[in-house]
Symmetry: C2
């Protein structure tokens, strides 16, 4: 390892150095492999026993597994944050655990228990502690997966499930500083009633890659999908929820099965109420979107991000962003809690040092 | 290996015995691992070079691959048949190759060329020749997969693709002899407009496992889905297409993006026309279904299978099955071509011995 003058790199020359050798300033939302991952397995009809921390690397899987053939998989996404006083904490992991359970029910899979999920996330973070970026430089993104492994030829629930957690230090999800430029997709949809849009199923993502890719090629940051039933109401982006602000009212589409119930969405709704906004979960039409004063997105990866413009057919609308925007206020309220700048009165943060390792 | 008196087992004691040691009579639709599989890889933006035949077994893949996280995968299904005079042939592999290309376009993946696909299927069959069941005992089911491999953290096209083919001797897909008992699912849908229902994406299958599982638990053979847009028209089953017969008219839903364009569907339409039926591809309402004289399903796995009953809410309708049914006639017309009992005047069958191996 090259010697580094930065105090953010290896603070000691021991192997138990505090930080991994990462160019923290250059982090984006890409995989930087860490040292360890967590793996547990369970047979159909049984429940997960404790898994173990193993070196991060490729996994071995049958070509005839349900994840490879039939998309039987769920993922989660949450983050570990390092505070100025060097505590490492994760944000509301119980919410991700519960969402994985809802998803598992929908896809006929066996999920880990809430306690198992949280403990496994903690172990994964602890094992990769030196990969948690210094405060202000980023976070450790944690990706739990629940996949149908084992061997099955026909379409049916998997004979075996693998619960795996990997992680990567990440920086900003979107490179734009001011705000997102969204394109409303008025031809394809992300989800339909009775489908899997309300759970974090892997099957919701590859189908939107084409729309996302086309929008990005045309210079947009992301795609905003409309509901498949009427084509009139906004739903969400490829990987985050959406809010609009008009007057004192913050509105966001309801979680009625076609959008993902985001943990950030729920937390931001609570924070907005805390500072006196009226928060409504209800159908939001494209017309309302185009007449909003402010629009913003929420998600673990994007945190809270202002939308600068929305393009719907030939119409392009610009919204308030920057210091005066509510989204800026909510962003700092949330990150202040996450980073330990203010006290966590809500009990959202979970310390990782308290676990057994 | 236990000695066997059956001429269908090891005809010689050499290692190049004609047949693998399989209890052919007991074959169902489950995986019997064969000796070899085919694997080829390709980087994004490049095209597939020739892959190779390798021993069948687990593959190694990154936890951070698009197939495991985002369901970026397509599969195909076709069969190899052994004729009485011991030729081994596959059915319309070009159709599967083309369908994989359409799917790859939809999921932003790089597919193998038509020639590569067909050649790879041939090589896979040739390498596993002794696993092709004796005539009348079953077929070798061939499963090509195209999956997003490589490493990518955010939702985007994969940096690498893996084209893999595995195979298994199979018998009947459904155990019922007389006909299928279908349940119409009037709450969840399989596909929506602008989605992936028209391609063989892995993302279309795990979402229907729950509906299928519930129907099977209630004694049904399979589920029939309705269109998500109106809920009034029939679409298809979890893994096969549907036809209805009334008078001289055979009708089947159109391939307008929400149902899979089945190779068997297309072939059966042609055979039905050949014997004087009028075949219509058009919206078919549930009402029409309930008033049909005959209903049947088509697919590589099910071949042509009569539907004995359809249950819609509390209504249960019974249809003609058995010797007098058109589906029985079409089944034998098709299998006679596949098994070489009649001459293949359509050029559907491809001999595998003619390839380089
Ligand atoms: C489709 C979709 N919507 C919304 C979100 C936001 O959810 P959360 O705030 O829990 O990260 C995500 C995931 O991050 C997502 O994939
Ligand atoms: C959803 C679905 N419909 C129909 C079919 C039938 O297609 P084919 O006749 O090409 O096998 C399949 C696959 O076999 C399928 O998965």
């Amino acid at each position: 390892m090259a010697p580094s003058s930065s105090p953010l790199r290896s603070t000691t020359s021991e192997t138990d150095e505090k930080y991994a050798n990462v160019k923290w300033e250059e982090l984006g939302f890409a995989l930087t492999p860490v040292d360890y991952m967590y793996v547990a397995k369970c047979k159909q009809g049984e429940s997960f026993s404790q898994g173990k921390i193993v070196p991060y690397g490729d996994i071995s899987i049958s070509p005839c597994s349900p994840i490879l053939n039939y998309g039987q998989g769920l993922f989660e996404g949450l983050k570990a944050y390092r505070t100025e006083d060097d505590r490492i904490r994760i944000f509301r992991p119980d919410q991700n655990a519960l969402r994985m359970q809802t998803g598992a029910e929908r896809l006929c899979m066996t999920p880990p228990s809430l306690e198992h999920f949280v403990e496994a996330v903690k172990q994964t973070v602890l094992a990769n502690k030196k990969w948690v970026p210094p405060p202000g430089k980023g976070t450790l993104y944690i990706r739990p997966l629940l996949i149908g492994s084992g061997v099955i030829l026909g379409v049916a629930p998997a004979p075996e499930y693998t619960f795996l957690i990997y992680a990567s230090p990440v920086g900003d999800y979107h490179k734009v500083s001011s705000g997102l430029n969204l394109k409303v997709d008025h031809t394809s949809h992300r989800a339909h009633s009775g489908g899997t849009g309300g759970v974090k199923s892997c099957t919701n993502y590859s189908p939107v890659v084409k729309s996302l890719f086309e929008a990005k090629s045309a210079g947009f940051s992301d795609v905003l999908f409309l509901d498949a039933a009427t084509g009139r109401n906004i739903e969400e982006l490829t990987a985050c929820n959406i809010f609009i602000l008009k007057g004192n009212i913050v509105s966001t589409p309801p979680t009625s099965g076609t959008i993902l119930p985001g943990v950030t969405r729920r937390s931001i709704s609570e924070l907005a109420r805390d500072i006196g906004y009226q928060v409504e979960e209800r159908d939001v039409s494209v017309d309302e979107l185009l007449e909003a004063e402010e629009v913003f997105c929420t998600g673990t990866a994007v945190v809270v991000k202002a939308v600068e413009t929305v393009t719907f057919h030939d119409k392009k609308v610009k919204y308030r962003t920057g210091e005066a925007a509510l989204s800026t206020k909510l962003h700092s309220m949330l990150t202040n809690i996450q980073m330990g700048v203010v006290e966590d009165k809500k009990g959202w943060m979970v310390e990782i040092d308290s676990c057994q390792g």
